[in-house]
């Protein structure tokens, strides 16, 4: 399937958090870096806008729907039938909104009027794990250059990738395994643990840091006690909360975790032999040297 894969062009919706000079830019950088090696080709959707994230859906359903759906209509206009939104907040919002307008004719009409574009229901919105699983698993096996040593990874999915399951239709909401499969594919050990889909406090980073500190503490503890020495994520919010809050946690709970939190795209990139710096490994709060060093053995 390799030749085919490379030709597959997928609309790329980065969303605000992972574009250059944003809080999670290393996610975007590594996703794009990896795709250049193993496909599929990602092309940014022209003039995309913010999906409104939790602030929109929490306070104004229609606004949230219109902001999200506008991007899908743009993608359709650009001729894509599949869009990758690496940020799960974005992919979840896009899919739910697409579903809502599909189910509610009146809402659909109102939204079409607001965005001044017809709404397509043909564009499939995918998260990053789906894209890798559907297009690039063989490629990873083929182009893997480095094999990590002693790397025990807890895959953390968070809420947004798997819920609501009936609408997102991605993996098992209680015990998803897609990211674990990818972790195994790059030669690291996938740790079985219990907090894969626990909530990290999401958007409360600023407004309710105390909540975030408690929830991330429980997650870090779960990973550490299961023997993980790194946590893989596919979500900028999860990353921010787990990466930036470890100091506060230490203050609050007296336990120092110092677990590097890495994007799954970064791990793939390291396995493919990409330069740590090009993957943004230096942009983390918790030092990632341990992870980078694990990938020093060249395969075969």
């Amino acid at each position: 399937m390799t030749e085919e894969t490379k030709k597959t062009k997928i609309g790329y919706y980065p969303g605000c958090a992972i574009t250059k000079c944003s809080t999670s830019e290393e996610y975007g950088t590594s996703v794009l870096g990896v795709s250049r090696v193993i496909g599929p080709e990602l092309v940014e959707i022209d003039d995309w806008n913010c999906c409104g994230a939790s602030s929109a859906h929490a306070t104004n359903h229609k606004l949230s729907t219109a902001l999200s759906v506008r991007n899908i209509s743009l993608a359709e206009k650009d001729g894509y039938d599949e869009v990758l939104a690496p940020c799960p907040m974005c992919s979840q919002r896009l899919i739910i909104s697409q579903n809502d307008v599909h189910e509610d004719k009146k809402l659909r009409e109102e939204v079409e009027d607001a965005i001044e574009m017809p709404i397509s229901s043909n564009v499939k919105v995918s998260n990053y794990l789906e894209i890798i699983k559907n297009y690039s698993m063989d490629e990873i096996a083929e182009k893997r250059k480095k094999k990590p040593e002693g790397l025990k990874v807890a895959s953390y999915y968070g809420c947004l990738l798997v819920r609501p399951p009936k609408i997102l239709k991605f993996d098992d909401p209680e015990n998803p395994t897609t990211m674990d499969e990818i972790v195994t594919a790059i030669g690291a050990e996938a740790v079985d643990w219990e907090f894969k889909t626990n909530c990290c406090g999401g958007g409360f980073t600023l407004s309710r840091p105390n909540v975030v500190v408690k929830l991330t503490h429980d997650i870090l503890e779960g990973a550490a006690d299961a023997g993980a020495n790194a946590i893989a994520v596919a979500c900028p919010m999860c990353h921010a909360n787990l990466d930036m809050r470890q100091k506060n946690i230490e203050k609050e709970y007296g336990r120092r975790f110092n677990i590097p939190i890495v994007y799954i795209s970064e791990l793939i990139g390291l396995a493919l032999g990409l330069k740590p710096k090009d993957l943004g490994m230096d942009k983390h709060f918790i030092d990632t040297d341990f992870v980078v060093d694990a990938f020093s053995n060249i395969e075969e």
Binding site: S22, S55, H57, T59, R163, P164, G201, V211, D282
Partner: protein
């Protein structure tokens, strides 16, 4: 709390209104408490998620809309995912928040949260995308008490080149403005 039932009182259309706006039928909830049991933020809430549903079932509008719970809900959708009666509790929280804002009764104790949403949306409205720096500034300006909180994180972000001062405006700003105007 006392709930008074007479023919005059409690002829509330609250549950009906919620259903019309969201399609959620709270009558289906049999108060098993599973939503509460799995809610990661329940420990911080003034009422448990199942109690919020109970309020709606009984037509206790004020109690539901002025609760802190609706703001503390992190939209993790754990509750809806596991509800045996398939009541969409997380989505119900969205509607209640929306109604609370419309009626101006959002609980002042959770002003941090409402202000954050405001600042966030203002940024989207203005630029079409989030400008994290300016969004943060607005939030901190409006919630001065939070100014010192996380004081060390901002500069670190800057240092790592992760906080840009120049907002990125999209071309279709007019289109975004239209959306905001339509759905005020």
């Amino acid at each position: 709390m006392k709930i008074k039932i007479t023919t005059k009182e409690l002829k509330s259309d609250f549950a009906k209104e919620v259903k019309e706006r969201s399609g959620i039928d709270v009558k289906k909830c049999y108060q098993c408490g599973k939503c509460t049991a799995g809610c990661p933020v329940a420990y911080e809430m003034d009422y448990m998620p199942n109690q919020i549903i109970r309020f709606v079932q009984l037509g206790l509008r004020r109690e539901a809309l002025t609760s802190r719970t609706i703001w503390l809900c992190a939209s993790c959708i754990t509750c809806s995912t596991r509800c045996p009666k398939e009541v969409k509790i997380a989505e119900l929280m969205d509607v209640l928040r929306e109604m609370a804002l419309e009626e101006g009764v959002a609980n002042p104790m959770e002003k941090n949260i409402t202000t954050f949403h405001e600042a966030f949306l203002n940024s989207v409205k203005k630029h079409g995308r989030i400008s994290e720096f300016w969004m943060l500034s607005e939030y901190k300006r409006k919630r001065p008490k939070t100014a010192l909180q996380d004081i060390e994180i901002g500069p670190q972000l800057m240092l790592k080149g992760k906080l840009s001062l120049t907002p990125h405006d999209i071309k279709g700003k007019k289109s975004i403005k239209r959306i905001f105007e339509k759905f005020k």
